[in-house]
Symmetry: C2
Subunit: 252 residues, 2 copies
C-alpha cells in the first residue's frame, strides 16, 4: 500500500509577486517526510475565489491530505475561510469556540467586528488551535486550513499531527562532493538502477566560489540507504572526488 | 485586453522534500511584474514523467507563458528535456549548436557522453543561451525550459525577455505600519472598495519582536496608486498608527 499523499496550496498574491519569500513549503516538506506522508506537489495561487475553489476541489480528490496556508486573517483580502465554505457547500458560521479563543488573546475592548470575522468558520469544521495569536485554523474532511505567517503555521501544524496517518518515515542521507555531475553521471545512473528502492537525487551548487554536487538519498529502508551510500562513496573515491561532508541518516 | 499570463513549474524532488529552499519563484514573480505579465500561479512538482507531462499540458493551454525550472542537467534524475519532447510529440535530437556551446565551456577532453546529453534538445526547439555554464535551455511554443540553479536561471531569463510580450508594468508601493490588521480592517476594506483598480494586500508580520503589517498596493496606474497610498496614510494617521517605512513606487 503506498504511503498517504499530500498537496500544499499556498494562497497569497504576495508570494506570486515575489514580495514575500515562501517559507512554509520547506517546513511542510520536512514534516511530511518525518510523518511518512508523500508530499506530491505544491501550488502557489492568488487570493482569488475561483482559483481557490478549483484548486481545492481538484487536490482534495487527488490527495490524501491538502494543507492550505494563507488568507484567514481579518482583512478584505482574507477570503480563504469563506471560499472553503463554498467548496464544501456549507454556511460560514460564527464559532463560539473560536470567539472564546480570540477573547482569551485580545485585550478587553479590542475584539472588534473585523477580528471577530476570524471566528467565522465553515459549519461542521473542526478547529485547529492557535496558541500564538488566538485565531484558529480548521479542518474539513481532508482539507486543513492554516495561516500564512510561518511561525504561527508551524506551531499549529504540530497540533494536527495526531489527525494524520502516515507511513514509515522517509529517511534522507546526503553526500556532498566536489566531483561535478558530468564526471559521475554515468556511474551514478548505474547505482540508481541497482537501488530502485532508494531515490538518488543529484543537485549541483555554486556557492562561495565553490562548484560541487549534493547527492541526496531518500528511502524508507535504512539498510538499503546505507548500502547505497557505501556504493556512492566507493564511486566518488574511484573517480577522484572528495567527500566534503556527509549527512547522518535522519528523517528530515 | 488583459495582460498576458504566466505560470511557473518548479520541477524537483529537492524542493518538495524541503531540502532546498526555492529561490526562483520570487525572482520570476518580480520579473513578470516588471514585464507586465500576470504570474497567475506556480506549481512545485516531482521529477516524475507523468506529473511533468500532465502539468505542462494543462498549463500551456491555460497560460500565455509557462516557465519551467529544473531537471536539465546530465544525471539520471534530469528528465525534463526528454519529457518536454514527449509533451510536444517530437524526438529528442543532439543539437549541434548546443554541442558547440558545451564545447566552448568544457576543458578539452572533459566533454563526455553524460555532459553531451545536455545537448539533447527536442526537435524544433529554440535554444536559450547559458553564458554561465554552457548547457542551454530551450523554448517550444509558449513553454520556456530553464535550469534550477538560481544564479544560472536568472541570467538565462534575461536572455529571453525579448521573446516575451507584456502589458504595462505592474507598479508596487508598500506601507509598513505598527497598527494591527484587526484595528484597520474595516477602513482598509472601504479603501479597497474605493480603488477597485488597485490591489490592496495586507500582510501581518512578527519579526525581531515587533508586530506590524505590510500594506502592499499594486496597480498599473501610477496616479491611482498614489491616491490610494494617500488614503491609506490618512487612515493610519486617523487610527493612531505609525508609518514605519514607505516604499517608493517602483516596478518590482
Amino acid at each position: 500500500m503506498p504511503s498517504p499523499s499530500a498537496c500544499v496550496l499556498i494562497i497569497g498574491n504576495e508570494i506570486l509577486s515575489g514580495r514575500t519569500q515562501d517559507a512554509n513549503l520547506a517546513f511542510l516538506g520536512q514534516r511530511c517526510d518525518a510523518l511518512g506522508i508523500r508530499l506530491v506537489e505544491a501550488r502557489v495561487i492568488a487570493d482569488n475565489e475561483a482559483a481557490i475553489i478549483a484548486h481545492i476541489n481538484e487536490c482534495r480528490a487527488r490527495f490524501t491530505y491538502v494543507f492550505t496556508t494563507g488568507g484567514i486573517g481579518p482583512t478584505h483580502d482574507d477570503i480563504t475561510s469563506a471560499t472553503v465554505a463554498r467548496v464544501f457547500g456549507v454556511p460560514l458560521r460564527r464559532s463560539p469556540e473560536a470567539v472564546e479563543a480570540l477573547d482569551r488573546y485580545y485585550e478587553p475592548g479590542t475584539l472588534n467586528e473585523a477580528r471577530l470575522r476570524m471566528a467565522d468558520i465553515p459549519e461542521g469544521a473542526r478547529l485547529i488551535g492557535n496558541p500564538v495569536s488566538g485565531a484558529p485554523g480548521f479542518q474539513l474532511e481532508n482539507v486543513f486550513v492554516l495561516p500564512g505567517v510561518p511561525s504561527i503555521m508551524q506551531v499549529m501544524f504540530d497540533g494536527i499531527v495526531d489527525r494524520l496517518s502516515g507511513g514509515p518515515p522517509i529517511l534522507t542521507v546526503s553526500v556532498t562532493t566536489d566531483l561535478l555531475e558530468g564526471a559521475m553521471a554515468s556511474d551514478l545512473g548505474a547505482i540508481q538502477s541497482a537501488f530502485p528502492d532508494v531515490s538518488v537525487g543529484s543537485y549541483p551548487f555554486f556557492r562561495r566560489g565553490t562548484l560541487g554536487v549534493n547527492l541526496v538519498l531518500r528511502s524508507i529502508a535504512a539498510g538499503r540507504i546505507a548500502a547505497c551510500r557505501a556504493a556512492i562513496e566507493e564511486m566518488l573515491k574511484r573517480l577522484g572526488g572528495r567527500i566534503l561532508n556527509r549527512g547522518a541518516p535522519k528523517s528530515t
